[in-house]
């Protein structure tokens, strides 16, 4: 036990004496996470655009059209800028707006006199969603105007020949009241029964940096484990492994020290990662204790896995190549480079069984919500059993490998 602690201390010192390698594997996922977050930036989900409104009519009716865009939810998506036609054309030609709408002079008169008039809508071809929305909004406004003309057309005529008399206003009020009574049969209560089904609210997807965090942390631990596993070749070449075998101690203590040292470093990285995630990314961490423990367990598992790879390789170069290859493949399919949520379903299904995929998923479960203690026991138990078997096999193999 004492030699185990001694070996762990020795390897911990050795890891800390090579801070560049350590920082590289910590910084790399942070940089990658930042870049991914920038690439897949997810702010307000609503598209935003500008409508250049050229009001050549300057009447109540043209004002009503522009005010249609100032109501929710259009007002959150479309910013209306009023200007004259030359300035608006210059802006739309430069691609500096989503669309330009021209209300021609005399549009209001044409509306009341039920004459034809043309609104001009120029859309920016480089944008797709917002111009379409503007067109649909204009169509709705015009359709509404059409029905208003049909219902109240005769009354509009009284307004076109100058200010109406008191009698005309009263008659119009009576007619409007009658119309409302007629319509109320259809709309109050509505003749069509609407059945309202509340679909279970879809779980809100976490922001991208939070989504990337578990996979990236596991990638950092995997990378660090790859980098440290190469050291076994150096120890073999230098003869320290053979010297250790010539001591009265056993290989399990010697190798166990290495595993524990890496566990200590990965625990530190995991803790830093969780603090960063909580306070810099505002991520929710529901099971901090389990997550804190999971990071070193995952780090040690990655290390054991990579030692197996090194022992299977014929020389240091092929060992490192093989480890890196597995790191990248597992990183790609195991939810580290891209979260499972962004992967095709079939690939994600495979990736869940990759070593880091399994570790990432369990880690996510610990972060994201309440977790059944049995499930926790199962996760940690699986790790202990698998690593225990691998550890035993490594110790047996390491003895022969050291003197080969």
């Amino acid at each position: 036990m004492r030699f185990l602690a001694l070996s762990a201390r020795k390897d911990l010192l050795r890891i800390l004496r090579d801070p560049i390698a350590l920082l590289t594997w910590i910084a790399l996922p942070i940089i990658m996470n930042g870049m991914m977050a920038l690439i897949f930036r997810e702010g307000d989900p609503m598209p935003q655009g500008k409508l250049l409104f050229v009001d050549q009519d300057q009447t109540l009716v043209s004002g009503l059209i522009s005010s249609a865009f100032s109501r929710e939810p259009l007002s959150r998506m479309i910013l209306v800028e009023r200007m004259d036609e030359p300035a608006a054309r210059k802006r739309i030609d430069a691609g500096d707006a989503s669309a330009m709408l021209i209300v021609p002079k005399g549009f209001s008169d044409a509306f009341f006199q039920r004459k034809q008039s043309t609104l001009t809508l120029v859309k920016n071809p480089s944008a797709r969603i917002v111009p379409e929305m503007i067109q649909q909004a204009v169509d709705i406004v015009l359709e509404g105007a059409f029905y208003l003309q049909r219902v109240l057309g005769p009354d509009f005529d009284r307004f076109t020949s100058g200010p109406p008399s008191d009698l005309a206003v009263a008659a119009m009020s009576v007619r409007t009241n009658q119309l409302m009574r007629q319509f109320s049969y259809y709309i109050d209560p509505p003749l069509i029964d609407l059945e309202t089904k509340v679909i279970q609210q879809q779980k809100k997807r976490a922001p991208f940096p939070v989504l990337f965090f578990p996979g990236m942390l596991m990638l950092a631990l995997f990378g660090l484990a790859v980098s440290r596993s190469e050291d076994i070749w150096r120890e073999r070449a230098q003869g320290t492994l053979r010297r250790a075998l010539a001591t009265p101690q056993n290989m399990a203590s010697y190798f166990g020290g290495k595993v524990l040292a890496l566990g200590a470093v990965t625990a530190l990285i995991g803790a830093l990662g969780l603090v960063l995630a909580r306070y810099a990314l505002s991520a929710e961490i529901h099971n901090p204790a389990a997550a804190l423990l999971w990071a070193p367990c995952a780090g040690m598992s990655f290390y054991v896995l990579n030692i197996i790879i090194q022992l299977a390789a014929s020389d240091p170069r092929s060992g490192v190549m093989l480890s890196m290859l597995i790191l990248f493949i597992c990183g790609m399919i195991g939810g580290s480079f891209f979260p499972f949520e962004m992967m095709p379903a079939w690939l994600a299904a495979i990736g869940r069984f990759a070593p880091n995929g399994w570790l990432v998923l369990r880690f996510k479960e610990m972060l994201q919500g309440p977790i059944d203690p049995v499930q926790l026991f199962y996760a940690f138990g699986t790790l202990v059993v698998l690593n225990g078997i691998a550890f035993y096999l490594i110790c047996v193999r390491l003895r022969k490998w050291s003197v080969a």
Binding site: L6, G239, Q249
Partner: protein, 309 residues
């Protein structure tokens, strides 16, 4: 302290050690002398438990290294040929780690580490990472790591390979000091002069076998009987053998078409007669080397080849 009986170690078809037997006592420096590939390192690896013997037995301090390896290794110190050091740790950290591996701890370990650092001349640089050390300093530290726990049996595998003369003298003195303090030292080397200067007893090893084993004085006496004459040129081996068989106190150690090695008493006086005999047998001598009796000439006499071949 150390007893090796009929040790044999094979790697597939290759037999690296073939029936080696030796015994070494406390306070004694026992040398294993032989060329590279003779089986010295394999023998040491078997003694310290790195390799399992194919057959034979090894006892260290009364413990069988195969059956009771842990107890055997408790009294063992190893200075391997490689620089078995953690280069990113300091000299003190290396010594403390290896001392700890043999169960030392606390004040005793700290004190002993300081003693070893002083003895190896590394005390003033004890906190520096080993990677900054020169080759000679690393060799001394490598030695220090093998003796920090004061072993009863010290195995040294060519500890002076690639060492500057100053460090070599210092290392040899450290080895003597271990023996003076009662340790049994098994020292492998292919440097004849080192073996002559250091060892009380020697075994000459070739092709995994001990070809001679005796105290240094006896070996010197064996070597002193005859000179070794090495000839190069063109020879007809059967004819030359036949011609030289008539010469008194002369033995043909080795002969082929281009070289011949002879063990000859009083060779300098008899050179003309030997040359005439070879000439008469159709041989042509182009180069002659006459060696006075030394361990090296003994090795040549016993194995038919130079130690450094």
């Amino acid at each position: 302290m150390l007893r090796v009986d009929q040790l044999r170690k094979s790697f597939g078809e290759l037999t690296a050690v073939d029936g080696i037997g030796l015994e070494a006592n406390p306070g004694e420096i026992y040398g294993l002398l032989g060329p590279n590939g003779a089986g010295k390192t394999t023998t040491l690896s078997c003694i310290c438990g790195l390799l399992t013997p194919t057959s034979g037995h090894i006892w260290v301090n009364g413990h069988d290294v195969v059956r009771d390896g842990v107890e055997a290794r408790r009294v063992l110190g190893v200075v391997p040929q490689d620089l078995a050091l953690f280069e990113d740790l300091s000299a003190r950290e290396n010594l403390e780690y290896w001392g700890g591996a043999w169960g030392m701890r606390g004040q005793a370990l700290t004190q002993r580490t300081t003693e070893v650092l002083e003895a190896t001349g590394l005390l003033d640089r004890s906190k520096e990472p080993v990677k900054n050390f020169s080759g000679g300093m690393k060799r001394r530290l490598n030695f220090g790591c093998g003796v920090v726990h004061q072993p009863k049996l010290l195995l040294l595998d060519e500890p002076t390979v690639g060492v500057d003369p100053q460090s070599r003298v210092r290392l040899l003195e450290l080895v003597r000091e271990q023996a003076r303090n009662g340790a049994c030292v098994l020292y492998t080397t292919h440097y004849m002069e080192e073996a002559e200067a250091l060892c009380h007893r020697l075994a000459i090893v070739d092709h995994g076998r001990i070809v001679a084993q005796a105290p240094l004085a006896e070996l010197r006496a064996m070597a002193g009987e005859r000179d070794v004459l090495r000839l190069t040129g063109t020879f007809s081996p059967p004819a030359v053998r036949e011609a030289l068989s008539r010469e008194d106190r002369l033995e043909v150690i080795q002969i082929d078409e281009t070289s011949a090695t002879l063990s000859v008493a009083d060779a300098s006086r008899r050179l003309p007669a030997i040359f005439s005999a070879i000439h008469a047998a159709g041989g042509e001598i182009r180069d002659t080397v006459l060696r006075q009796p030394t361990l090296e000439s003994l090795f040549l006499k016993l194995t038919g080849k130079e130690l450094r071949e």
